[in-house]
């Protein structure tokens, strides 16, 4: 999709800059992307904002080799479903990792990156990507 306007990205900044989702205190489920209603508890649900630790492992992945213009300069790139340690799963690019090395079960941590840019003078979207954890940073 092409650029939709500033507000569409601006209103999600907390979520995509800090991986802020929700925790339902009724059923103890963590949600990312954020929800307005707990889909399990509905009216009985109690959602509280929750910032994820940003650690998890790769549930599945693909190496993207054909992409629309907004991602063309990044190909080939790894995109994956990351299962966060709290239980929610999200879709993100994996960086700082050779495409030969990525595998299901790989431990990853979030990092802050430029996601894409809509043309020469368009919006630049920043947010989360993930990279392999490293011993030196204490993230295993």
């Amino acid at each position: 999709m092409s650029e939709k306007g500033v507000a569409q990205f601006w209103r999600k900044i907390k979520a995509i800059y800090t991986i802020q989702g929700d925790h339902c205190t009724t059923c103890d489920t963590y949600y990312f992307p954020p929800r307005v209603v707990c889909p399990k508890c509905r009216r009985k649900g109690q959602l509280e904002k929750y910032t994820f630790k940003g650690l998890g492992e790769i549930h599945t992945f693909a190496i993207v080799r054909q992409a629309p213009d907004t991602f063309k300069r990044q190909i080939p790139y790894i995109v994956a479903q990351v299962e966060l340690d709290e239980g929610a799963r999200l879709t993100a690019q994996i960086v700082n990792c050779d495409i030969e090395d990525v595998h299901i079960g790989m431990r990853v941590r979030s990092c802050f990156r430029r996601i894409t840019q809509y043309g020469e003078s368009g919006i630049i979207v920043y947010g989360y990507k993930f990279e392999p954890t490293m011993r030196v940073t204490g993230h295993e």
């Binding site: 992307p33 693909a62 190496i63 080799r65 054909q66 629309p68 879709t91 996601i115």
Partner: protein
Amino acid sequence: MGKRVAIIGVGMSKFGELWDKSLAEISLEAGMYAIFDAQVKGKDIDGLIIGNMSAGRFTGQEHLGAQAVDWGGLGDLPAYSVEAACASGGAAVRQAYMAIQSGEHEVMLVLGTEKMSDVNQSMAMDTISVASDWEWEGMFGATFPALYAFMARRHMMEYGTTEEQLSMVTVKNHKNAAHNPWAQFQKPVPLEIVMNSGLLADPIRVLHSSPISDGAAGLVMCSAERAKEFSDTPVYIESSKQASDTLALHDRADICTMSAVVSSSRNALKEAGLAIKDIDVFELHDSFTISEIILTEDIGIVKKGEGGKAVEEGLTEIDGKFPVNASGGLKARGHPIGATGVAQIVELALQLRGDAEKRQVDGVEKAMSVNIGGTGATSIVHVLGR
């Protein structure tokens, strides 16, 4: 239960890259063929439903219902547009089924249409990805093929499904499409060509993916009691069921199963009073070959994890025990998104009538279509009978 519903006419435009024709022209073509086939007159029709995913993005035109009535010279006929991503066509069929069952409409023209080649490939890829959860999948770089690659890779790990099996679905469907005059690709393709075709999103290759297509399909549907007024060869909708699942693939506990397909197909069989072994021919939504494999499992042709083996062993060939996609499927017939669900029903009606020529399956009494939207967030199942 309301009235029984019949399909009395079918029509198709050619599927492919139809540079010389507009969206309205291909819709009109399919509708006119369906009307001629049904031997109804314009004045017999009391409503029109058109399934389409994204004409607004692909061509710049919305309000397709009114446009179809206008181009067809159908006067002030009420017209409805229906959208459910790749299941828009199936949704149109189901809406007509319910409208006729209720008695509100008696004879309806049902169209499915999409014109994808009027935009460049980048725009087409962008538009296709709005069928997924764009804000949380597409925006982060997960193209539509990448989402199916997610399923494929997981399926390979959990069940040992191979790239060769993913490729055999292509070989089978191209072989079938060679006998389908409307198909986009009417040529067989050897396994090694499929296995060496370019990668879209590993492990999914170009020839594991349905193409970008233009095309339209049409049906005339009416109540069973009026069917014989018009047609000697009506076929009947035994059941029509629909189910939903999470919009985003990452919200599903198990991405190797489409639970909306499991429930809608079970419910459809139950209402028709049939078991899976009673179905003689299937049209399953193979937007990517992994989805045909997953669907053969989810509707119960084989157990979970054995879909790859099923195609390898020839179970789903035209002369196999459970023929799948005798038409060539989305892979080879083409996948003009909104047209697909209607085209599936066209194929099954022809199979039931014995009119499928060289791709005819022997002795078809019952048939099933599965049309899914996005990565399985919508599933629409129809069971047809003679």
